[in-house]
């Protein structure tokens, strides 16, 4: 959704098109992931508190630098987790996530190139911090799933792979893990803004197409 908001606002027409294409990719990816969850026996969320997004996606981005940081850092963190699942021992995911990784490679190239061109240091620091929070603390759920073989990487590996991919060390971040929400994978409260929420739930469309 946040990528899509930039499909007429990026610095060039090519970047507009790329933003739209990456947004479409990610909608496809979420459909595959939700479908897989259902197959694996996890019921769909029922209310807005079930949107477990990182704080970075709570509000629309106001600066291209925020897009670039999300694209280069957060998207890479999500991709690494998908890689960990695709190389884990859950058969449904092993077979289904390969195409996703091919598409995500282009998101990574896009983010990496723009990161070289854009002064996005503070946005990148924020994206880094939220990526680390999203991956979670050592010795918790991700490390347990790794021990069971369902994830191919544990927390430390995910962090160091992310450093390799982004091409910089994670900035020092003082994360208060006591406040970490295990389901929503963040330490700060809050959620998606109302307007975006209504779009996600189809309420915005209904307003323009009232039923007879």
């Amino acid at each position: 959704m946040r990528y899509a908001e930039w499909c007429i606002a990026a610095p060039s027409l090519e970047a507009d098109i790329a933003a739209a294409a990456m947004g479409l990719d990610d909608i496809g990816h979420s459909r595959v992931l939700y479908g897989s969850l259902r197959e694996l026996g996890t019921p769909d969320g029922i209310d807005e508190s079930s949107y477990a997004n990182v704080p970075y996606l709570d509000k629309p981005w106001t600066d291209w630098a925020q897009f670039v940081a999300a694209n280069a850092v957060l998207d890479s963190a999500f991709t690494l987790m998908i890689e960990a699942l695709a190389n884990g021992n859950v058969e449904v995911l092993r077979s289904r996530l390969k195409k996703m990784l091919q598409e995500e490679h282009y998101h990574f190239l896009h983010g990496r190139s723009w990161m070289r061109e854009t002064k996005a240091a503070s946005a990148i620091d924020e994206a880094w911090r939220e990526s680390v929070e999203w991956i979670g603390p050592e010795g918790a759920d991700v490390d347990e799933l790794h021990q069971e073989g369902r994830l191919a990487f544990h927390v430390r590996e995910l962090r160091s792979l992310l450093e390799q991919r982004v091409g910089s060390a994670a900035p020092p971040a003082d994360i208060d893990w006591a406040r970490w929400d295990r389901v929503r994978r963040r330490t700060t409260p809050g959620g998606i803004d109302q307007a975006t929420l209504e779009m996600l739930q189809g309420l915005a469309e209904k307003r323009y197409m009232p039923s007879a």
């Binding site: 090519e14 790329a18 190239l109 190139s113 070289r116």
Partner: protein, 74 residues
Amino acid sequence: MAYSRVHAHVREYDVFARKARVEPLRQVGSVVAPDDDLAMAYARATYDEERWVEMMIVPRDAVIRLWAPGESES
């Protein structure tokens, strides 16, 4: 070039693709980008509407032209 407002230095790349192994590659378009990474991302985002089995990009300045339309071969 309008594009240089965004990036100080850019290269033009031609995009080639084919739908089947038996087909020859054909030029499907071009992209302008500051580096190979972004050129690949743009080529894929802009020209992926067909089911290509192969896609490649070539920096236009790497192409050696022997002759152009209207010029004689020798």
